[in-house]
Amino acid sequence: MNCLEFRRQLGVDPHAGGDFAQHRHECSRCADAHARAIGFEKAIRSAFEIPVPERLAESILLAQATNAQRRHRQFRQRATWTAAAAGIVLAFGIGLRLQAKPLPELAINHLKKEAFVLGKTQPISDESIRKAFDTFGVTMHDIPAGASFVACCPVGKYVSVHLVVPESEGPVTLLYLVDDHSEQRLDFIKDGWFGRTVPLAHGTLVLIGHDAAHFDQLETSWRNALRTATYKT
């Protein structure tokens, strides 16, 4: 490297090494120029280093934390709204699906799901039956005898009191669908089950069994009991 090349390099980067450093050691005039250039470099660097605002890092970290929390909150809100929207769509879909199914199918499906109660034969207390009807605001004054099971069950879109009455030809399931007025009286056979829907003043009674021999007698006794019941409006 000659002096001209050294002076050029000095203006480009006075901290360069290699040939540049070697020439500096060999040429006193260039070494002096280098010393001046280094002094100028220090002055430039010092001038570039303007004061940094106090607590700059803290303010950035605070902004990041606030921003992250806001994004997290927005994400959660979006997720909640998405879930709610999906829930509504799902519920609407299920509602349509349930509504689309006829009552006999809903009743048989429910009976199949709770088939284990058909084996119950021990009579249950009138009080437990009264409690089940009370749940839906129906106060029963007379309770027909013979039930071995009672529970409050959802049946499709309906709520119901689910009863089982063991008979000599097999158990008969009774579902009282609260506040259902839409069904017509109907005798049906589905999946090997006999069934009957009986519209009443404040709901619908559904009877299902492998044998329909006791349907008339059970319909009469429960129709009378439900007619004399008190309904909360």
């Binding site: 001209l4 002076r7 050029r8 203006g11 480009v12 980067d13 100028f40 470099e41 002055a43 430039i44 660097r45 010092s46 001038a47 570039f48 280093e49 303007i50 004061p51 940094v52 605002p53 700059l56 890092a57 803290e58 303010s59 950035i60 970290l61 605070l62 902004a63 990041q64 934390a65 921003n67 992250a68 929390q69 997290h72």
Partner: protein, 181 residues
């Protein structure tokens, strides 16, 4: 500072904290010399780090963090001017401040003279010099960052130093001016 957060510090958060604490000063200075405005520089640095946080997973080598952050900052600065709508004020309504920038404390003394001189430099000269002196980048790295050739970087930093000397000498060339071919 961590008490301001309602969630525990993760590895990513710790990495980010370290970046902010070690590089925010340099980035602020870089932003200041880029924009010439302290408040704007503060905003630029903050926005740069917020963007960096969102893209932190892209940073594979922590040794490259400074160059990565400077790239983000430069883009953010450019974006600022894309977004900025100039507001025009009638010249008669403009108040002329008594205090000039050169009279501010950081512009007093010899350092102040150099700072004033730097602000007079054309940005195309100031920025490569800034990257070299403050950022510690080589000519090749500056060339990549500014998307120009290394030879152009060498010419610009050379001219930047010469022009600074000229401005500091009161507009007259000082000593021998040797330009690169």
């Amino acid at each position: 500072m961590t008490s301001d957060r309602s969630f525990p510090a993760t590895g990513k958060q710790r990495q980010f904290d370290a970046l902010v604490r070690s590089l925010s000063g340099d980035l602020f200075r870089y932003a200041y010399w880029l924009s010439g405005d302290e408040a704007l520089a503060h905003d630029l640095v903050q926005e740069t780090f917020l963007r960096a946080w969102r893209a932190l997973d892209d940073l594979r080598e922590t040794t490259a963090a400074k160059a990565w952050l400077i790239t983000i900052l430069r883009r953010e600065h450019a974006r600022l001017y894309e977004r900025k709508v100039p507001q025009f004020t009638d010249i008669d309504d403009v108040d002329v401040p008594e205090e000039r920038e050169s009279q501010l404390p950081e512009f007093a003394g010899e350092e102040g003279l150099i700072r004033s001189a730097m602000l007079q430099l054309d940005p195309k000269y100031r920025e490569p010099l800034l990257l070299q002196v403050l950022g510690g980048f080589s000519c090749d790295e500056i060339a990549r960052e500014l998307n120009i050739t290394p030879a152009a970087v060498m010419t610009q930093v050379f001219r930047a130093r010469q022009k600074l000397k000229v401005i500091l000498a009161g507009g007259k060339p000082q000593g021998d001016v040797v330009e690169l071919s």
